[in-house]
Amino acid sequence: MSPFTKLLAVASIEFRVALRNRWLILATGVMTLFSLALTFSGAGGLELKAGILTLAAASLATLSVYLIPLIALLISYDSIAGEVERGTMALVLATPISRGALLAGKALGLIAVLAIAIAASLTISSAAAIFAYGMDMSGLAAIVRLGLTGLLLGAVFVAIGMMISVASPRAGQAAAVAIGVWLVATVLYDLALLAGILADKEGVFTKALFPYFVTANPGDAFRIFNLAGLENAAPVSGLDGIANTLPFSATYALVGLFAWLVAALAAGYFQIRRLTP
């Protein structure tokens, strides 16, 4: 059997375990709930002449930055450290599967969980909005873009979660580190950038460095790319205003996300090669 067949076997088992542990239903439920709430609460802005789905995409882009990384880290932090701790990893590593295929297979299975959760929640909330307010073609495109880049954002944090999991001797420690990473990436990083802008008062930091710093954060990169795609159709505020003043194309934000994915997977691979179960 080819390495790819083994990779798929790992992915399918990882997906099944996540399914039976109720992660899929939990992730889909939470995301659907939030999508519906944001879509219909955004309907108040309809007098701005933006479509219902365009408004929803703007709100969802802001919320997804918190929710998708959180769910991605929650389903991935246990994937390696937990198996080592429960003693199920030694058996797998004794079989002729390459450690790279094992890591990639597990990541693929977990990303599939996220893909279903994202697709289901966006489909349900968009269908409900179209049913209530009518069709919004450009908004639909924004939702599709949001879903695809949201999956990329999720993949980045699955890879980061697995990297943490490989490097942690205990699942509990992996959980603590994952929560810390989530806090820094989604909250503290942006707060630090805002503090920098306030202290700098239109200096070198704000003009030259800030756009790069903000794009380097995967969550911000995701939000900037999606809000730039809305072309001022929806009201934006705060850090997101930067999306319209970047000194480079917002497409580079996507390049940043891919770079994170590759870097996190590479770091995970480097660690798993040295793993002793």
């Binding site: 059997m1 067949t5 083994k6 076997a9 790992v10 088992i13 099944r16 375990v17 039976r20 542990n21 198996e83 429960r86 003693g87 199920t88 030694a90 058996l91 797998v92 590593l93 004794a94 079989t95 002729p96 599967i97 002793t276 179960p277």
Partner: protein, 308 residues
């Protein structure tokens, strides 16, 4: 999969040493395992059995010496194809069923799952195949672990304390399966902490003590080489105990009994001298050294050597 020949051991361990910080976990350990041979690796907890297994699996790199599995380095693709592993306290994802586990491991070992699934019948789990492993008893998990290890007819089975926690019936069935796969040419290396557990089930034993190999051979040869004293307990007739004790020495116990001990070679001689005093003796009990005595002898000898 290639089977080795008698000149070509499936597992070669040559002068292996492993050190953790300042602890010498393994020191200059050497032995081979031939195809079809069943070898028990004995040792206390912490003697280095699991460390040696981890080296054979390629999880740990020895600081000294060399190991080859089917002619290749441990952990290499070919070595991992040739060896199957059953860890102590085997565990599987609780949410998966027995059938899913066997299918999964068959795929990981590049074996058609349809060929692997009958192994569930072999270990007596055909009824439980559709149930989740989380609902299995410890014995059932161990059986599933054995089925997993047998997938793809491995050349070398590495079983870490495989029968600990099994009831006597399961244990006997377990060894019947091991016998069968060894007859088909697989080498079996299993670890245990008691000689009594593996007696009659293996061809050879090797004893590890504090990381060193202190004995290697079949049980009979090891017992003879140990030259452990034989204990003879004589029950004297009324009032004869003192006379017997004066004549033969030994220790007085229970008022009427005398306990003697002698070298294995002196046994016949002593017994014939005893039977000449037939009228003073009620009964004779001869106790050969037990397996535990033999095991303790080799383990302790190594520890005394350490102190010297």
């Amino acid at each position: 999969m290639t089977a080795g020949t008698a000149q070509n051991p499936i597992l070669k361990i040559d002068g292996v040493g492993v050190t953790f910080a300042d602890l010498k976990a393994l020191q200059d350990v050497s032995f081979n395992v031939e195809p079809g041979e069943k070898l028990a690796l004995l040792g206390h907890n912490g003697a280095g059995k699991s460390t040696l297994f981890k080296c054979v699996l390629g999880f740990l790199k020895p600081a000294a010496g060399r190991i080859t599995v089917a002619g290749d380095a441990p952990g290499s693709d070919h070595a991992r194809r040739s060896v199957s592993y059953l860890p102590e306290q085997v565990a599987f994802p609780r949410m998966l069923t027995g059938i899913e586990i066997i299918t999964y491991f068959a795929k990981l070992k590049s074996v058609d799952p349809r060929e692997a699934l009958p192994l569930l019948d072999l270990v007596g789990l055909s009824q439980a195949g559709r149930r989740r492993v989380g609902d299995y008893s410890k014995g059932m998990r161990q059986r599933l672990g054995l089925a997993q290890a047998l997938i793809g007819k491995p050349d070398l089975l590495l079983l870490d304390e495989p029968t600990s926690g099994l009831d006597p019936v399961s244990r006997r069935e377990f060894y019947e399966i091991i016998d069968r796969v060894a007859q088909e040419g697989a080498a079996v290396l299993l670890s245990s902490h008691a000689l009594t557990e593996v007696e009659g089930h293996v061809d050879r034993i090797a004893i590890l003590s504090k990381g060193r190999l202190v004995a290697d051979g079949n049980i009979k040869a090891l017992a003879e080489a140990a030259r452990l004293p034989i204990t003879i307990r004589i029950k004297a007739r009324e009032g004869q105990a003192d006379a017997l004790s004066d004549r033969f020495g030994g220790t007085r116990i229970n008022g009427r009994s005398v306990e003697l001990s002698c070298e294995p070679g002196a046994k016949i001689d002593l017994v014939s001298r005893l039977t000449q005093r037939r009228e003073e003796i009620d009964d004779i009990d001869i106790a050969l050294p037990s397996l535990d005595d033999i095991y303790r002898f080799y383990s302790n000898r190594a520890e005394k050597g350490d102190a010297a």
